[in-house]
């Protein structure tokens, strides 16, 4: 069996590397070699990806076992465990502490607040006049404001933690030392903030985590800090970049844009379809380690084997999605797995959906002539794709 170097080439804007779909068709469980830590498997079919993500025979925590040398993109193994590298029941214990705040029902109660933030940001953009950068005017500040309010992180600190966060999701965009140092800075920052919440608790998630640590012994100090960091970083990098990616695609496709403008009720379905279709990730993602023998599409995975999945390829699996490479806002059934599947299904999924719906819906309604102004450059060498800037006129 051929062993392919992985991750594949640096992503080209928002194009899904065709190699994924070729593998999905011809070699659904392929052998891949990472820059560090040796070889693993790559699963690209929808059902296989879901199995790897949700079946308890695949472990995330095994990646953190002492001495583990797992295939990866960075030279050293992660030093600190976090919610993304835990299995149930530890993962469940942590996740339950904040799960309530992220349910679809609770998120819906934040819609009005999100609308207020979007309106304010677009007011300011309009006042400054065209051309404007939509990344800085809307895509970044919207999710940052909301996650700051939910977590209890001061919005005034955004420049500080944004710089660290940029490096924390890098692979080659920063030096390895910078990537490690940014992780340290984020942990120190959240640690200090948690100390302040201890003295002066508020109605926010960091205070909830501090109370769960102090009063109920439900998580360790390290878990508290790494959880706070994960919520802050994942709470804005993803949505902010996807919002830029979505707007970029819509403004570049007059048919899609026209369809959505003609029928604003399509916005939620359009957001789902753009979530399915738009490759946010551009790298290898997080491997799982098999803890038992498992068969995937005829390939036997042995205990100890590392398995990578590609959700983006799974979202284009023709056995699940008709005409998978077309953007279609009228899909009757759209069970994409952009937010993952199983225990690690994105806790912020309802929030991301709501923010994207409000932002896209408002932007199109308010600026009937919104258009790109000049070329768009995408960020490089990161886990997450997104435009550097998105200059627009209206």
């Amino acid at each position: 069996m051929e062993i392919r170097p992985f991750p594949f080439t640096e992503p080209d804007e928002l194009v899904l590397n065709p190699e994924y779909l070729e593998l999905q068709r011809d070699e659904p469980v392929a052998r891949v070699r990472l820059p560090y830590g040796g070889d693993g498997w790559l699963a690209t079919r929808y059902e296989d990806v879901k199995t790897v993500l949700a079946d308890p025979r695949f472990s995330r925590a095994a990646v953190m076992e002492p001495g583990a040398d797992v295939p990866r993109t960075l030279p050293t193994m992660p030093a600190e465990t976090n919610i993304l590298s835990m299995d149930p029941p530890d993962h469940t214990r942590l996740r339950r502490l904040v799960a309530k705040a992220f349910t679809a029902r609770r998120t819906e109660q934040l819609r009005e607040r999100a609308q207020g933030i979007v309106d304010g940001l677009l007011d300011a953009m309009e006042e400054r006049g065209a051309p404007a950068d939509l990344v800085e005017s809307l895509a970044m500040p919207l999710p940052i404001t909301i996650i700051c309010e939910m977590l209890g992180v001061p919005f005034e600190d955004r420049d500080k933690f944004r710089a660290w966060s940029e490096a924390a999701v890098a692979i080659t965009a920063f030096t390895y030392d910078e990537i490690l140092a940014s992780g340290e800075s984020l942990r120190a920052y959240i640690g200090e903030l948690a100390e302040r919440k201890r003295v002066d608790p508020a109605d926010d998630m960091l205070s909830v985590l501090v109370a769960a640590h102090d009063n109920e012994d439900r998580l360790t100090t390290k878990e508290l800090v790494s959880f706070g960091v994960a919520l802050l970083v994942a709470g804005h990098e993803t949505t902010a970049n996807q919002l830029g990616n979505f707007v970029y695609q819509l403004l570049g496709d007059p048919d899609l844009l026209g369809e959505l403008r003609a029928d604003p009720a399509l916005v939620p379905a359009a957001v789902e379809e753009l979530l399915r279709f738009t490759p946010l990730g551009g790298s290898a993602g997080f491997p799982r380690i098999a803890t038992a023998e498992v068969e995937l599409s005829g390939v036997t995975i042995k205990p100890g084997d590392a398995v990578f999945v590609d959700n983006l390829a799974a979202n284009r699996d023709p056995s699940v999605f008709e005409n998978p490479n077309d953007v279609d806002f009228h899909r009757a059934h759209n069970p994409h797995i952009t937010f993952g599947h199983g225990a690690h299904h994105c806790i912020g999924a309802p929030l991301a959906r709501m923010e994207l719906q409000v932002a896209i819906g408002t932007l199109l309604k308010r600026f009937p002539l919104l258009r790109l102004d000049g070329d768009v450059t995408f960020k490089k060498g990161r886990l997450i794709r997104g435009p550097q800037a998105l200059m627009v006129r209206w």
């Binding site: 879901k50 993500l53 149930p88 339950r96 069970p335 199983g342 225990a343 299904h345 806790i347």
Partner: protein, 73 residues
Amino acid sequence: MGEWTVELDRDKCIGTGMCTSTAPHRFRLDGGKSTPVDEVVEPDDAVIDAAESCPMEAILVRADDGSVLAPEL
């Protein structure tokens, strides 16, 4: 303590797989949606965990007197 009942609202369920991973012995996916393996179970914290972790609040756990054990609203 008596047995618990596990109700699953299939209209709310979006098939995240959260419950099937949290409590694999209690839930399974069927046609992309979750369904309890048994609707009446011995008291088991795993079903509470699953109900509390579901982003759609699609799982309802009741005690034998009908009172709701999870999720907390």
